[in-house]
Amino acid sequence: MTSDAPNIRGRNKWNKGLFLLCFLGPALLIYGVYTVYPIFATFYYSLFDWTGIESAKTFIGFDNYARLLGDSVFHRTLSNNLILVVASVLTQIPLGLALALLLYAPIKGVRLYRTVYFLPLLMSTVAIAILWTFIYDPTIGILNNLLADIGLDSWQRSWLGEPDTALGAVVATICWQYTPFYMILLRAAIAGIPDEITEAARIDGCTSWKSFTRITLPLIMPTIVTSCVLSVIGSLKYFDLIYVMTEGGPDSSTELMATYMYKQAFSKFSMGYASAVSFSMFVIAFLVALAILSFDRSRSRGGA
């Protein structure tokens, strides 16, 4: 019997190895090929002068990155992305919170509000982009017609056609699309607060404003931080809506890192340069996420 023991253990180990290989192997392979490898490949490509059409590549070291630093359109994309990040965080999350709180207010028709408020999130981004392009249309669009109806004819303009208003118009659409997402996240967080706590505060004579700032807000802070991370990362990699609505125009006024990268790669066929843009995007998103998370960690440690 004893002489069999190592044999069995050996076979068990082999069995477990085989099991892990069968269960982990396929997913790790797909994930490795389509997510992990491309990160390294993007960096590798970014070191070359390369059209992507011919296989010939010329190694140029970090020249693409040097070119990025001096590229005024890339600077424009950075500031546009920054505007989008700030606008998203400052509109979507407070509005989402307001909507979430509204759904807890003692008013009639909450089910209706909840259903309708959620709707923008269900439409595909391409559909939203096309729909809002018509809403902003200078002649047939409902926005300009509405302005005419209330006597503000002088405010009418070609919202997406003018560099001054295009970015704002697109950002407003993005906020329309994503506010419901933060509404449901924050609603779930509020729902997670035990009734006893809010009840006790009410009995102690807390006004609703006080109970909001002293109880609700601190307790949903982790969700707010998560929302900020999601909103920031989402805004840094934003692409779909802007690509369909304006293709980055007019005059680069709505160009983002992702749309610029796409154009460089697939319209201008400078794959090497596009890879440098795309790898920079990755680094920026990663650093920002790390910064927010470590800030959050020190905040919660300080609070404890």
């Binding site: 389509y34 491309p38 490949a41 509000y113 309708v116 409902i142 690509y243 998103a285």
Partner: protein
């Protein structure tokens, strides 16, 4: 005092109702108008009534885009669910040395912007001979759905009482049987959440389709909508009919499984 305060909330609630809902109403109303009526009264709701636009959109082949989207979404979601469940089972129940690194590998995947992978995936797809085929999308869709799915599912499996596994093991079940006949059935709520979340995302996905598919007959719905948009240009009611049709599947999913959809979307925010 209190009632006064709550009455004040109604205008706010109503304002948001209009902002969130009116674009939908406008889209649907415009899709039922005749072209001439639309250009005479672009903002009126329900001033004429015709199904012509829908008929036209079907004649121009929106059905094809639907079929493609349905096919790739269903196949990708099925694979994601199975693969994510298998990985999550290993992470939660089978102790092995690389368990934590594997988990962190997937966690890190949540931060990766898809665009960073776009050029290599495009090159790879060409090398694999999958370029311009609907199946070119399966790899990226599965890979990008795995992180969130693994996180949600492994969390869920950790909460399943271990006694259930032990009972099965005592009955002589091996790991494979344990997974298929105990864990997988118990995982159903997580499967539904993950399935709906990924379905919505894949159904709406745009950029991989844009890069990997060029032939209109092989396009998914979001790409097809863009083709309609480009070709119709002046037939706004026709475009609105296409947009309405493209949104219906998600609306249906929402109305039949509201709680699941909300939960599924909220799952996207699990904290790392």
């Amino acid at each position: 005092m209190k009632t006064l305060k709550t009455i004040g909330l109604y205008p706010v609630a109503f304002l948001f109702l209009i902002v969130a809902g009116y674009p939908y109403l406008y889209m649907f109303a415009a899709s039922l108008k005749s072209q001439t009526d639309f250009f005479q009264h672009p903002t009126s709701l329900f001033s004429s009534f015709t199904f012509e636009n829908y008929k036209l959109v079907f004649e121009l082949g929106i059905g094809r885009y639907f079929l493609n989207s349905l096919l790739i979404s269903a196949v990708s979601v099925a694979f994601v669910i199975l693969l994510a469940a298998m990985i999550s089972f290993c992470l939660a129940r089978v102790p092995f040395r690389l368990s934590r690194p594997v988990y962190y590998l997937f966690l890190a995947g949540m931060m990766i912007p898809v665009h960073t992978t776009l050029i290599p995936v495009y090159m790879l797809t060409k090398d694999l001979g999958l370029y311009d085929s609907i199946w070119a999308l399966a790899g990226p869709y599965i890979a990008f759905s795995l992180p969130i799915s693994v996180i949600v599912m492994s969390q869920f499996i950790r909460e399943i009482p271990r006694e259930l596994d032990e009972a099965a093991v005592v009955d002589g079940a091996g790991r494979t049987r344990l997974f298929f006949s105990v864990i997988l059935p118990l995982l159903t709520p997580a499967t539904a959440t993950v399935g709906i979340y990924n379905f919505i995302h894949i159904w709406n996905e745009f950029v991989f389709g844009l890069v990997l598919i060029t032939t209109p007959e092989k396009m998914t719905l979001p790409l097809g909508l863009r083709v309609f948009y480009g070709e119709f240009s002046v037939n706004v009611p026709g475009i609105m009919a296409a947009l309405t049709l493209g949104t219906i599947p998600l609306l249906l999913a929402y109305f039949f499984a509201q709680e699941k959809v909300v939960k599924g979307l909220a799952a996207g925010a699990v904290k790392g």
